[in-house]
């Protein structure tokens, strides 16, 4: 029983972790809560649905196309709305509100086009899953864990070893210093939106092969991602992973001991506790308050 809980936590925790990773990457360089990330996430899944189920494209092609288009969507939002706002010296709250607006618009467009009923990327019946040491896990669930792990490793390597990665870290660390060193922060931000949105798309696609999809899936995933980022610490990649896993664990434990309907409340109760007592999470850097 306990093992099943751990396995389930690992599965959903991987998804939360991916969302947290993408979201955290974007927050690191832009310093505001890009809520529209949730809508971008949703698009990743629904674009795949559009291509595979409606257009009947080959699977691999659909996946690649969806991820690229979703990545492009994130970039479009940045270039079309956030960048002009930053130029006008908008505060992070203005960006947040604009982001909320974008989120609402995209989610409702998805709702209009595809309907609110549940859909899925699964073809065929829900499989029972392989039995490993008494816990059940399906092939797609194994894929979720492995792909997420792989993406975390790849992202860490990109950030640590490549030139692009280093500039991203520089801007995340100290944007003013980065400008002084001649780094084009707008380009760097573009990269983070591209990578972050792609990560969101992959997460959405993975989960849609496992369970169902609804237009509001992005909202829920985003909230979990935000909680995971805050628990793990803003600006920390291992933090995002840890946050995602812990959140998955807490939810599954909660579902086991208490009824599953309380899982939202549990997640946000944890969030509030962290905000109140440890706002920097486990690994986070101090959030700069105002410059005097």
């Amino acid at each position: 029983m306990l093992l099943q809980i751990l396995v389930n936590s690992l599965i959903i925790g991987s998804i939360y972790g991916l969302v947290a990773l993408g979201f955290g990457l974007i927050y690191g360089t832009t310093r505001f809560f890009h809520f529209a990330h949730g809508a971008v996430y949703t698009c990743g899944a629904y674009l795949t649905f559009l291509f595979t189920v409606w257009f009947k494209f080959p699977l691999f092609f659909s996946l690649v196309l969806s991820i690229i288009l979703t990545s492009f969507l994130g970039i479009l939002i940045e270039v079309g709305i956030y960048r002009p706002l930053r130029k006008r010296e908008a505060t992070s709250l203005v960006l947040l509100i604009a982001s909320l607006g974008i989120f609402i618009v995209i989610q409702n467009i998805v709702s209009l086009v595809f309907g609110d009923d549940t859909k899925t990327l699964r073809s065929g019946v829900v499989k029972e899953g392989i039995n490993i040491f008494g816990a059940r896990i399906t092939p797609i669930q194994i894929a979720i864990i492995l792909v997420s792990l792989g993406l975390f490793v790849i992202t860490s390597l990109i950030l640590a070893k490549t030139k692009t990665g280093k500039t991203i870290r520089a801007v995340a660390n100290d944007p003013e210093l980065a400008i002084i060193h001649g780094i084009d922060t707008n380009k760097v931000i573009l990269y983070t939106f591209g990578i972050g949105s792609a990560l969101a798309a992959i997460a959405a696609i993975l989960i849609s092969f496992d369970v169902d999809m609804v237009p509001s899936m992005g909202f829920f995933a985003l909230m979990m991602g935000v909680v995971a980022v805050i628990i793990g610490g803003v600006g920390s990649i291992p933090g995002a992973a840890l946050g995602g896993l812990l959140l998955g664990l807490a939810q599954n434990l909660g579902v086991w001991k208490i009824h599953s309907k309380w899982q939202d409340a549990i997640a946000f109760g944890i969030l509030l506790l962290f905000l109140l007592f440890r706002p920097y999470g486990f690994f986070g850097k101090k959030v700069k308050k105002v410059q005097i």
């Binding site: 809560f33 974008i102 609402i104 618009v105 409340a265 905000l275 005097i292």
Partner: protein, 291 residues
């Protein structure tokens, strides 16, 4: 004719909501997406007390206001120690937890089924039940809250709020306890939202959790922002516009399934457009300033 009254009554209720949220988000600059939660608390307290204890409507409303205020303080006091961006997240968390309780604590709130048959107020022997009576009743409260808010913002207290919004470090350096003001405004706003919730519960006589969601909170925020932050008349205008336009769409025969989505796309788009071109809203005088 009754339909027109219905719209007006909704507008009056939303004026109370937007004026109170404007105090929090427009005047003090604290973005909150928890307002629907306080609205819901007002509605549920009034409904539950009336149906389970049978207490009078004024007592019930005051209890709702008190509970909302206390919860508001509990959320605000620790949250304001952190960065303002995190405060929004904290209000998100609170909103979702409240909704979760309303939806899941079935023994208390009847959960998704909602609470029907809420008794309507009786004043001096007259039961407030017709559209005209509610029009006057809600109009009275809308006027009261507007005047209350206006007195507040035009006073030295209001001046401190404006200072906090524009440059809170300056306000702090002049000796103003900025955190205390933020907490007070949040509590006041929360209590006022509970008033609106009570009116809603009495008017519709049926409440369920779907009226008190995060989406609703965001809608309320849109009214304040579009109408104009830092301007009470902006809140009135915003409420009037954002209630009437979707109703007009429905009136024009748009099927309700599409209408709901279209309404949301409308105010989502408006939010983005306003942030880009007029962040202070229609009548607002203040666009969230860089600190």
């Amino acid at each position: 004719m009754n339909y027109l009254f219905h719209i007006l009554i909704l507008i009056f209720i939303y004026i109370i909501i937007s004026v109170s949220l404007n105090l929090i988000s427009g005047y003090a600059g604290l973005i909150s997406v928890a307002h629907a939660a306080f609205y819901g608390i007002g509605a549920y307290v009034v409904a539950l007390l009336a149906l389970n204890i049978g207490s009078g409507f004024i007592v019930n409303m005051i209890c709702g206001m008190l509970l909302a205020g206390i919860l508001g303080a509990i959320i605000a006091i620790p949250s304001l120690r952190i960065h303002d961006d995190y405060f929004v997240i904290a209000t998100f968390g609170f909103q979702i937890i409240v909704f979760s309780i309303l939806n899941n604590w079935v023994t208390l709130t009847k959960g998704p089924l909602g609470i029907p048959g809420i008794p309507q107020p009786i004043i001096l022997g007259i039961s407030i039940s017709s559209h005209v009576q509610f029009l006057i009743f809600t109009g009275f409260f809308a006027l009261l809250t507007f005047l209350f808010a206006r007195r507040l913002v035009n006073s030295p207290f209001g001046r401190v709020l404006k200072a906090i919004r524009e440059d809170e470090i300056f306000a702090e350096a002049l000796g103003k306890n900025v955190t205390k003001y933020k907490i007070l405004v949040f509590v006041i706003g929360a209590s006022m939202a509970a008033v609106a919730g009570s009116l809603y519960a009495w008017y519709i006589t049926f409440i369920d959790p779907t009226s008190f969601t995060v989406q609703e909170s965001i809608f309320m925020l849109s009214i304040v922002i579009i109408g104009g932050t830092g301007n009470l008349w902006g809140s009135v205008l915003g409420a009037a516009l954002l209630i009437t336009i979707p109703e007009a769409l429905r009136f024009l025969g748009m099927p309700s399934a599409i209408a709901a989505n279209t309404r949301q796309i409308l105010y989502g788009t408006l939010l983005v457009i306003f942030m880009l071109y007029r962040p202070q809203g229609l009548l607002g005088e203040f666009a969230f300033r860089r600190k």
